[in-house]
């Protein structure tokens, strides 16, 4: 009965749910090395470098090299391309002319396909020592990540100011074993909440808000959209639960015992002691300095990539970081948009995906199976 209710209200196109066999469930207690958290980077950082056409030529007389570089810099300065190295060494050994130089951008050349004397800019450039020019593609922007640098270097050498943190993150090695086990613990709480929500006829999505400093869970919520409110997605529920913990909040969640919060200022307590909503003494926001301000500095763990509404709600709430398990079609942290990296917005933050990816994917599969069987 409840299964049918779920599937009726999903309204997703059938092709979204390709039925695949369910994998054997792992024991949830063992430390899981099956997942890796990867950063969801901005397009600038993650797309292949854009390329532009340029004329290069071999240096036939090595002694002319320094003069040529000097003259080329005056006659054909590469404006806005400070990352491009003007001269490159040919990779093949034993070549007669081991050095090549960028003469000019194709757009700066007098005409396409000209020989070197046409490129001499009416004699301003002394072309002695330069061989027959040829067309190359050079990266238009400085590479921001190591993969981009490696990609760019296939075309022409560039300088690269490496952000080591990003490189490590892209390898999936940013988090220590302790951090990873905490991340797994938080996501497991989100998965558990998702299951409880799902059993009540909601979509199988769960979320958890954590204060990374105290390593304490502040709120646990699950999707409640098929209950009383169509916009009560798991993230929206969690944001409001955090507000409840700060003495605010717009809703009560008495109907949903799995949706819980704690006071951020209260002394650390084991997770099982998380009190349910409504039983909280009103003592939040009393501290003079450093009292909690919406979700500033907190981390969110959510089983599925948030939709546009939830993603923007997290921007408004000044969330610290977001971790999600699995991507979603309309997702706004990588799939359809990258709201966390949008320069126009006043708050940006890091997003990681893949935390406990398989278990989160399984939650979607449960829904899929119901859909297929109904």
């Amino acid at each position: 009965m409840s299964l049918n209710i779920v599937s009726d209200r999903l309204g997703y196109p059938a092709e979204y749910f390709k039925m695949e066999p369910l994998p054997k469930r792992r024991k949830e207690t063992e430390c899981d090395d099956s997942w890796v958290a990867y950063p969801v980077l901005s397009n600038e950082q993650s797309l292949d470098p854009e390329l532009i056409d340029a004329f290069a030529a071999p240096i036939t007389d090595k002694k002319e090299t320094s003069r040529l570089i000097k003259e080329l810099a005056t006659v054909y300065p590469l404006r806005g391309l400070q990352h491009i190295k003007r001269v490159r060494a040919r990779k093949e050994k034993g070549s007669t002319h081991p050095l090549e130089v960028i003469v000019c951008l194709a757009s700066d050349a007098p005409d396409r396909g000209m020989d070197i004397f046409d490129l001499s800019s009416a004699g301003r450039l002394n072309c002695s020592g330069l061989g027959v020019p040829f067309l190359v593609k050079i990266p238009a922007c400085p590479p921001l990540t190591r993969p981009q640098f490696e990609q760019a270097s296939k075309h022409w050498p560039t300088s690269f100011h490496e952000d080591k943190q990003v490189t490590v993150a892209l390898k999936g090695q940013l988090f220590s074993p302790h951090q990873k086990s905490k991340m797994q613990e938080y996501m497991m709480a989100a998965v558990a909440a998702a299951k409880q929500g799902w059993e009540r006829g909601m979509e199988g999505v769960g979320a958890v808000v954590v204060d990374p400093e105290s390593e304490k869970i502040l709120a646990i919520g699950h999707d409640c959209r098929t209950g009383s409110h169509p916009l009560h997605h798991a993230v929206m529920v969690c944001i409001d639960l955090v507000a409840c913990g700060q003495g605010g909040g717009a809703y009560t969640y008495d109907k949903y015992p799995a949706c819980q919060f704690v006071l951020p200022d209260s002394s650390p307590s084991p997770r099982k002691d998380i009190p349910v909503c409504g039983n909280q003494p009103d003592q939040a926001s009393t501290g003079e300095s450093g009292h909690p301000y919406i979700c500033t500095g907190y981390d969110l763990y959510v089983t599925r990539e948030p939709c546009v509404m939830c993603a923007m709600a997290l921007v408004h709430s000044r969330i610290g970081r977001v971790f999600y398990g699995t991507a979603s079609i309309d997702g706004a942290f990588g799939s359809k948009f990258k709201i966390h990296a949008k320069k126009d917005l006043n708050h940006r933050f890091e997003v990681f995906q893949g935390v406990l990816g398989q278990q989160c994917e399984d939650l979607n599969r449960q829904v899929n199976l119901v859909k297929m069987n109904s």
Partner: protein, 279 residues
């Protein structure tokens, strides 16, 4: 819950309504986003009353007089909010000539940054549906949102999710706007995020901007206090106001949203200063 059954339109608003009627009609035509307009007529696949929904959406065109009247009411609310030290955004949801939801920002009192006027108004619509045992979807599909400022990205997505067909707003929101300013959510390809909606924008835009300017000259007492800057010798808040809709630096740009062709909209309320208004 209070659902006002009638709406008070100030007498000067009525005067204005007649004087700029022609302009509104033209502005209406100009501002409808063509992409959204065509998608509005899409049959909603999978709805129980598919045919009905199409008819409703096709006929869903409030007249210019109605638009102006409801916007006047939204501006009343914004003005009232400003006088009470609240973010001056007025917002109402109208169904069958009845206001089902009226909202103002409740971010500070709820400590929940998602409590924008639109979300508050929507809650009232849902409560109205609950009391009458009506499906929220059938009601929302015939409900227009009138709001003095362009809905933010979050609210625009929320409006999609609940299938609102038409949004009428005043000034652009260059900071967070989700109806074209930062992202164009109503027209975006989001198959699992409800349905796209149509927008009519620029109604009394200068006035909406002026109210926001006035508001953001004040400080937000709820923002956390930054550490004192010793070299500056004084303490001041660097934190932006909570739910800062418009940044001061974009105020001037905002004036460009006003129509440059055709007569300006006659302000119903006194606008403190008007800039860039074509004569």
């Amino acid at each position: 819950m209070s659902c006002p059954s009638n709406i008070i339109v100030p007498s000067d608003a009525r005067k204005c309504l007649h004087s700029s009627e022609g302009f509104i009609a033209r502005w209406f035509e100009l501002s409808c986003r063509s992409t959204c307009a065509s998608s509005l007529l899409h049959p909603k696949m999978g709805t129980d009353n598919e045919k009905d929904a199409v008819v409703v959406r096709e006929n869903f065109q409030p007249c210019a007089e109605d638009i102006e009247m409801w916007m006047a009411s939204a501006f009343d609310m914004a003005k009232e909010a400003l006088e009470n030290g609240e973010v001056p955004v007025g917002c109402l949801m109208v169904y069958n000539n009845e206001i089902l939801g009226k909202g103002r920002n409740e971010v500070n009192e709820t400590k929940n940054a998602t409590r924008h006027a639109e979300m508050v108004a929507l809650d009232q619509v849902l409560e109205w549906c609950r009391q009458r045992d009506l499906k929220p979807r059938t009601v929302c599909e015939r409900t227009v949102l009138y709001v003095t400022v362009e809905p933010c990205i979050m609210c625009a997505a929320a409006l999609r999710l609940i299938n609102i067909p038409l949004v009428v707003y005043g000034c652009n929101n260059d900071r967070f706007g989700g109806c074209g300013s930062v992202l164009d959510i109503p027209a975006a390809d989001l198959p699992l995020t409800g349905s796209s909606f149509k927008c009519i924008s620029g109604i009394r835009a200068e006035e909406a901007v002026e109210m926001l300017k006035t508001f953001y000259k004040q400080e937000n007492p709820n923002a956390p206090k930054p550490k004192a800057r010793k070299e500056a010798g004084r303490q001041y808040s660097l934190a932006p106001p909570l739910h800062n809709l418009i940044h001061p630096r974009v105020y001037d740009e905002l004036n460009t949203v006003c129509p440059t062709s055709g007569p300006p909209l006659t302000p119903v309320f006194q606008v403190r200063e008007m800039t860039n208004v074509p004569s």
